[in-house]
Amino acid sequence: MNKPLRRIALFCGLLVLALLVRDNWLQYVRADELKDDKYNRRVAIERYATPRGDIIVDGKSITGSTTSDSTDFEYKRTYKDGPMWAPVTGYASQAFGATQLESIDDGILTGNDDRLFFRNTLDMITGKKKQGGNVVTTLNAAAQKAAYDGLKDRGKGAVAAIDPSTGAILALASFPSYDPSVFAGNSDKDSEAWQKLQKAKNPNDPMLNRALRDIYPPGSTYKVVTAAAALENGLYTDADEKTDSPLPYTLPDTTTELKNEGNIPCENATMRVALQYSCNTVFGKIGADLGKDKMLAEAKKFGFNSEQFIPVRSAASNFPEDMDKPQTALSSIGQFETATTPLQMAMVASAIANDGKLMKPYMVDKLQAPNLDVLEQTEPEEMSQPLSSKNAQILQSMMETVVKDGTGKNAQISGVTVGGKTGTAQHGVDNSEKPYAWFISYAQLADGSSPVAVAVVVEDEGAVRDNISGGGLAAPIAKSVMEAVIASKQ
């Protein structure tokens, strides 16, 4: 009987071996994957086990941490002026996870980042409790407030403001917004508040970050990109050169006539005049003359057709890659399938204001350890040069004319040179829905520096359709944001 006994012994050994191998597979090979699984509650437990670090604007924290009465979570996130800052912070909820800065810099905020490992080990030895580090943003509190209040008065929309010389984001507002405090916990109340904010229950979709994640047809504001393409490709070399622009203008290869809004002097107008009056015919023809490849190349230099990471991801703005001539003409005046985030249009304005250099946009200035040591400092970085310094200055003078004498008069600031462009974008089937009011601009101080470029979009305001124009609705918001930035510089 001993031979089968030995075989059974071997079999039992194999059973144990199988268990050992499986255990190594689970606890060694797959350990990290299981540990960091988003459904693994330990991730959230860890996130709220210590007071969370703060997100800081202008030296003051816009977030906080409070003790929580939940069994699993010791602390709970709190927000100051939550709705105003939500597009910047995102949320950190015990029940619903984290997004945006709260998610991207979670390691720093919880104190679990590898760069804090040595400090944590020291703390453990000295018996100090683990602490989270801080995320210092580039935002400007006054500009953000101006942007948010402006939107609140006018309805749905978004604002993005950038410091053109560095790419630092100064304002990032979206309305309607939400207060991330109301669902930061884990209770039924939090769950109810969360449900109420979801798009399914709330057609206003307050949780959509319109400044980064929604794309709108840019309408006439896109004409500055078309003008930049005309200058860069040498189609026209000066703002005051007569263009070859018939009126009426029939879209190439079609019998459709491209119309202007009202009776404006667009026939063979100079680009300056065409931008001042926002001539569809002039810029549509420029687009058709340059062709889709050149138009696309210029758009891409401004950042179109790719996502931006600031470090929060923004949606990719779209300039159509595949289209015929009439569609190219329409796309060049911000219609057809051209669509852009407010951030993207702020980038366009900032590149022009910065003499043609587009700085990579960013909103985290530095990451701090709990003792305020700097762990990581963001250095301004040039992203591309969509137009030469000379052409940028030509375009600046055209945009300044728009504000001085054209559709953008509402953005004038005394003692400051402002360049801008209005836009009224049609949307919906057969333009049935209320148009979007756009305004992009920058401010230039007496010393020649440009501290701010801004893009504003306002969605279907309650007013009647005719009254919606970029100059009327969006420009005043842009103006107050620029004023806030200039005031804080002085």
Binding site: M1, R6, I8, V16, D37, R42, I45
Partner: protein, 479 residues
């Protein structure tokens, strides 16, 4: 005749039989470790959870020490040549299991469950009862061959034990499995654990008598030796009945365990490999057949193939789905190589049965890969000692009983640990000694007792030549 009197200098000159070391002192030394390690673990949990040495330390240390001490003294007196490893290994598993059960008692999450009870004190009581049964086995079972007389009584006993949970008013259905009976004032008992031992006795007794018939009087069919129906009949009937009962009680782990034990013993008794093939075919047919009509089984298999999906279904509140398998995997993964340290994990997220069926996950999270491998190796060692006992046993009944019990032990460890770690579909069974559960711990102490009795008989030296015929007179034992 105790080995303690054999000093090394005399050893070479003594006659072989007397010189066989009893190894009782080895056992005692190992028992010290088996008590000290859990006591340290207990202190560790207290410091981690409450920042202080637990108040019950003395009681716990003394309790475990007493269990080990009594066990040791009884072995020293009644089974002096028994295997020296089994008692310390069982004590260590029992002790460390108690610590982890106590640790899970401190969990606020589990305390919120409606079925929460403070399990550690009960488990300590069960352990004491288990050791009492262990002592009873060693004291009253002078020779394991006596059990052979109870072959058919064991069969009847096993069947009664298995049917009990189906008796209305007696059986209770806990979370889908009817494997418990309720004894008023005492709590619930899981008769299947005891049936395991009774069945092993029956199989051993029956196969010992019939093994020649089964092995030799067979017909060759398709290259396999098939036994005659009359030899095979009774045993197949018992097997089918036990399987049927278990299917009705929806306890598949035990069903698998019994069948595996049966095949192992049959193979050892007949030395015919064809039994293994036959057995595998039968179990495959049985598994497919049962899965065909038992939605419970299908669901277990689906949960095993895609635990994440099972988790998501349970989160959506779909009835009959549980997040436990996935929670157990997360616990293992989160433990990593070295674990979080006792008392510092979140394995209590598993919820119900965290301290019984899923107790290994807590080891995984808090002691890490290192801890689980150590536990698995301890189990492996228990099985190895059991198989060694079977090899050393001089009588076929002892061999069969020892291999049956240790094979069942190995299968149980594999089915439970494999289920919790996602290696095989999950079945509701408990890790021997580690998991909370009175029936399991008591039955397993009895199992260790029987193994020790067999090994004592096996290792006991042949009686020395009688120094005086007069003294011998009173010791004649008639077979």
């Amino acid at each position: 005749m105790s080995s303690t009197t054999n000093s090394p200098t005399h050893h070479t000159s003594t006659i072989g039989a007397i010189g066989t070391p009893s190894r009782r002192n080895t056992e005692l030394a190992l028992l010290v470790f088996a008590v000290v390690i859990p006591v340290f673990a207990y202190v560790n949990v207290g410091l981690a959870i409450n920042d202080k040495v637990p108040a019950g330390l003395l009681a716990y240390g003394l309790g475990l020490g007493l269990i080990a001490g009594v066990g040791h003294l009884v072995v020293r007196k009644f089974a002096p040549y028994a295997d020296p490893l089994l008692l310390p290994l069982a004590t260590l598993l029992n002790g460390i299991g108690l610590v982890v059960i106590w640790r899970l008692d401190q969990s606020k999450r589990l305390q919120r469950l409606s079925i929460y009870v403070e399990a550690a004190p009960r488990q300590l009581l069960y352990s004491a009862l288990g050791v009492a049964l262990f002592v009873a086995v060693l004291v009253f079972l002078k020779d394991h061959r006596i059990l052979q007389r109870y072959t058919y009584i064991s069969m009847a006993g096993a069947l009664v034990l298995l049917v009990l949970p189906l008796v209305p008013g007696l059986g209770v259905n806990i979370f889908g499995a009817r494997i418990w009976i309720k004894i008023p004032g005492l709590g619930t008992v899981q008769p299947g654990e005891f049936a395991k031992i009774a069945l092993a006795i029956f199989f051993a007794g029956y196969l010992m008598v019939k093994r020649d018939a089964l092995a030799l009087a067979s017909r060759r069919f398709l290259g396999l030796y098939l036994p005659r129906g009359r030899d095979l009949g009774p045993i197949i009937v018992v097997w089918i009945i036990s399987i049927l009962i278990l299917v009705f009680e929806t306890d598949l782990g035990t069903s698998l365990l019994f069948f595996g034990m049966f095949i192992i013993m049959l193979y050892v008794a007949t030395e015919r490999t064809s039994w293994i093939v036959f057995g595998l075919l039968m179990s495959a047919a049985g598994a497919v057949g049962v899965a065909g009509f038992e939605s419970h089984v299908q669901q277990r298999v689906e949960a095993w193939l895609d635990p994440m999906n099972e988790y998501l279904l349970s989160q959506k509140g779909v009835a009959g789905h549980t997040e436990q398998s996935m929670q157990a995997l997360w616990a293992f993964g989160s433990g990593g190589t070295l674990g979080t340290g006792l008392g510092q994990g979140n394995s209590d997220l598993i919820g119900f049965a965290a301290n019984s069926d899923f107790i290994l996950a807590t080891f995984g999270e808090e002691l890490g890969l290192a801890g689980v491998m150590a536990i698995l190796l301890i189990y492996g060692l228990v099985v190895e000692r059991g198989v060694r006992t079977a090899l050393a046993a001089r009588d076929p009944f002892g061999k069969l009983l020892a291999i049956g019990l240790s094979g069942a032990f190995a299968l149980q460890v594999f089915v439970v640990a494999g289920g919790v770690m996602g290696l095989i579909p999950l079945t509701g069974m408990t890790m021997p000694f580690l998991a909370y559960g009175g029936s399991s711990v008591i039955a397993n102490w009895a199992l260790i007792g029987i193994l020790l009795r067999i090994s004592d008989t096996a290792r006991r030296p042949a009686p020395a030549p009688a120094p005086s015929p007069d003294a011998e007179m009173t010791q004649v034992v008639r077979p």
